[in-house]
Amino acid sequence: MEAMKETVDQSLREMRETFASGRTRSVKWRKAQLGAIIEMVKDNEEKMSDVLFQDLGKHSSEAFRDELGFVMRSATTALNCLDNWVVPKKSNLPLLFYPATGKVISEPYGTVLVLSSWNFPISLSLDPMIGAIAAGNTVLLKASELSPNASALLAKLIPSYLDTKAIKVIEGGPDVATILLQHQWDKIFFTGSPKIGKIIMAAAAEHLTPVTLELGGKCPTIIDHHSVSKDMKSVVKRISGGKWGSCSGQACISVDYVLVEQSFASTLIDMFKPVIRSFFGENPKESGCLSKIVTKKHFQRLSRLLNDPRVKASIVYGGSMDEEKLYVEPTILLDPPLDSEIMNEEIFGPILPIITLRDIQESIGFIKSKPKPLAIYAFTNDKNLKTRILSETSSGSVTFNDLMIQYMCDALPFGGVGQSGMGRYHGKYSFECFSHEKAIMEGSLAMDLEARYPPWNNFKLNFIRLAFRDAYFKLVLLMLGLTKGVRK
């Protein structure tokens, strides 16, 4: 540990020196790094796919769609837009301040810490780094020890493609994170669970370090079967694809549970079965298209959730598990007890509870009774329901008639609210996430207003009152002595 402490000290020192030298401020430098990230992913696509398969059993298509392709696109966007993003924003000042000018410039925070999660270890590491670099910061990455092969690959590749004096990688688990958090950072970006998010924020508070926390929650999916009946096949496909086709449900924006009217539940379940079979065949374990559960510990957690006898009794599809292969079959539950563990913590696995309601309108109240999730999904064409969902619930985001795809839309800020997180990124929001918006006002030394200065008197008070009201005409009258006072 002493050696690790020394490494961290040294790394921080070097990054701070590099930042102070101004090298990372240059747009040229930033673009070079972003270009290098694209190159790094392109050159090593196969190696990256391999480690994702080793750590998570992720299929190369999933790996590309959710991680590698995503990162390349993100870096390309930043590269193409950076010249625009760095332009100062002009602010209009009231006439009274003429000829002063105002603007806001985005300046890098300085030295930034990125702590990423294990489920999308490449994209959740590189995407925030893209934002940090685009904004001109130096950055240190600690990837998750639960995806050790991905972490090791990043630790090997990043130094050979990027500027090692400004961009560093450290590997390790909670003990290393603890050492890192004892230091003062200019910004911390964390992706992970709310429980750890609290620890990170408390550590950041010691140094007044601003944080962005991308956490999780139970993302509900509302199915309003009345209004989407003719597209129900698509609905079921999309939900299945979103739940089981992306890291086996181990994603912060995965469908956690479904809300549907009682009358439609059994039809719905019957529609899921053939879709799941069409995706993963008769023996999903051997399909190669289903990611594994990341570790034994996580497997045991899911096992515990399912082994609650009342939950077990609600299994209507799947339920088989293989600890050695870290495999959990795509599983559907029908109305597990609402006070069971599985309905009170983020599932983060391939188990899908279906909760039935008398009327789909009740879904609003149901969602509101739980902590604010990262995403709410609703399959509906009912304008009224859409409006109610938007105005009566709160979540990081809302997607109608699809799932997860909001992640790909880089014009939309991606982030949580309440227990699901604070701050946001993607596209320009990544740049802003890692920038301090500095206000600049420039006044003129050419003229001065006596009314600004003591000793105070009624004239000056009236002048200033009028000035504040932008009552320019009355101001002129006052100065010409054509009016005495101001109605208070």
Partner: protein
């Protein structure tokens, strides 16, 4: 007693003066009621918000004399400062909000791309819910020690925070400036603003050894013009807020190697909580007065051999809430605004940026997190919710398992948003 309670209580000199102590149960009831009303949707409507803002305006309009009187009792604040910096500013802020609220509340369309086609997207501003505002002008809430305590408490509930803290706002004076105007604006921002007890008060001056005597002379002249030759008797400056802070400032003045550096002022009256406008020259950089935010009517001048050295001095210290520069030199202005990190920077004036609703007001590093004023206030208390509307058209098999090379190829082209390549793959040509 929690650290938070201790910190709050430590500034109240006379503990017995606390009549009723606010307990946990009181807080619980308050929050429950507020949450209930929020959940009922009372505050969401445009009309409700407008009504509340208008009522605030009524307070400004009808009760200004009482506000001025209260501020005079609390701080000895001159009427003009209260009317201008407190009431008029507030009135303007409310009026701006009333004028722009509809715009601010409107959803903001966002572009979608080929990867999410066909879709439409928008960003909706929604209220965060139940919010706690702990206000300043009452010590010690404008300081970073308390900021840490607040943020640590907020972390337990993952509550986002905006922290408007403080710092030592430096003023750099270049010898090419218009000295009279410079000095008047510094005095106005320092002693004319709650007697230096403001988060953006100029804290200390940086100028060359050569220029310093001119600066001191100009300060003396203008200070006398503003406050007369008996500044202790002037009604145009606020007094020090309480004994705690009076003693804190006295301690700064009385420190060895500091007390002999006073070049103007230095008079104190503990009974009246008054300290006269005081200027010091070249106190030690590690003295108390140069290590903590002064928050009072003391203005140290630190001299440099060369004005360029100011960057080293400023950047070696915690980032301040504001940094000021007086110069006509374009190169220096550019370097300053680019390399000095502070909440906000004002060139050729002090403190006035506080009154501008079009500039975000907030700190960085030790001086704070988040910003407000104008639309930035609306944003500070909103969650920007992303909303994506998709249709059922174009449900492509490439999204779903079982995965294949062809699907992967198509995915790749889609991700790169390359229409030509996409068609090629679709047609099996690639």
């Amino acid at each position: 007693m929690s650290k938070l309670e201790e910190a709050f209580i430590s500034v109240i000199v006379d503990r017995s003066a606390m009549a009723k102590i606010f307990q946990m149960a009181d807080a619980s009831n308050l929050v429950t009621e507020l949450r209930r009303n929020f959940d009922a949707g009372v505050t969401r409507g445009y009309e409700w918000r407008v009504t509340q803002l208008k009522k605030l305006l009524v307070i400004c309009d009808k009760h200004e004399p009482e506000i001025v009187s209260a501020l005079h009792d609390d701080l000895g604040k001159p009427e003009l400062e209260s009317s201008v910096y407190e009431v008029a500013l507030l009135r303007n802020s409310i009026k701006l909000a009333l004028k722009q609220l509809k715009d601010w509340m409107a959803p903001h369309k966002a572009k979608t791309s080929l990867t999410t086609f066909p879709a439409s997207a928008k960003i909706v501003s929604e209220p965060l819910g139940v919010v706690l505002v702990i206000s300043a002008w009452n010590f010690p809430f404008s300081n970073s020690r308390i900021g840490r305590i607040i943020m640590t408490a907020a972390a337990k509930h993952l509550t986002p925070v905006s922290l408007e803290l403080g710092g030592k706002s430096p003023v750099v004076i270049d010898s090419d400036t218009n000295l009279k105007i410079t000095v008047r604006r510094i005095i106005s921002g320092k002693w004319g603003c709650n007697n230096g007890q403001a988060c953006i008060s100029p804290d200390y001056i940086l100028t060359t050894k050569e220029y310093a005597p001119k600066v001191i002379d100009a300060l003396k002249k203008e200070l006398e013009a503003f406050y007369g030759n008996n500044p202790m008797g002037s009604k145009d400056t606020s007094r020090i807020v309480n004994l705690n802070h009076f003693d804190r400032l006295s301690k700064m003045l009385e420190e060895k190697e500091v007390s002999n550096k006073i070049v103007y002022g230095g008079q104190k009256n503990r009974e009246n909580l008054k300290i006269s406008p005081t200027v010091l020259l070249d106190v030690p950089l590690d003295s108390l007065i140069m290590s903590e935010e002064i928050f009072g009517p003391l203005l140290p001048i630190v001299t440099l051999n060369n004005l360029e050295e100011c960057f080293g001095v400023i950047n070696s210290r915690p980032k301040p809430l504001a940094a000021y520069l007086f110069t006509k030199n374009h190169k220096l202005k550019k370097k300053f605004t680019k390399t000095v990190s502070a909440g906000g920077i004002v060139v050729n004036d002090t403190a006035v940026h506080f009154t501008l609703p079009t500039l975000p007001f907030g700190g960085v590093g030790e001086s704070g997190i988040g910003s407000y004023h104008g639309k930035f206030s609306f944003d500070a208390f909103s969650h920007k919710k992303s909303v994506l509307f998709k249709s059922f058209l174009g449900d492509s098999a490439i999204r779903y398992p079982p995965y294949s090379r062809r699907k992967l190829g198509l995915l790749k082209t889609l991700v790169n948003s390359n229409l030509v390549d996409t068609f090629k793959v679709l047609l099996g040509l690639s």
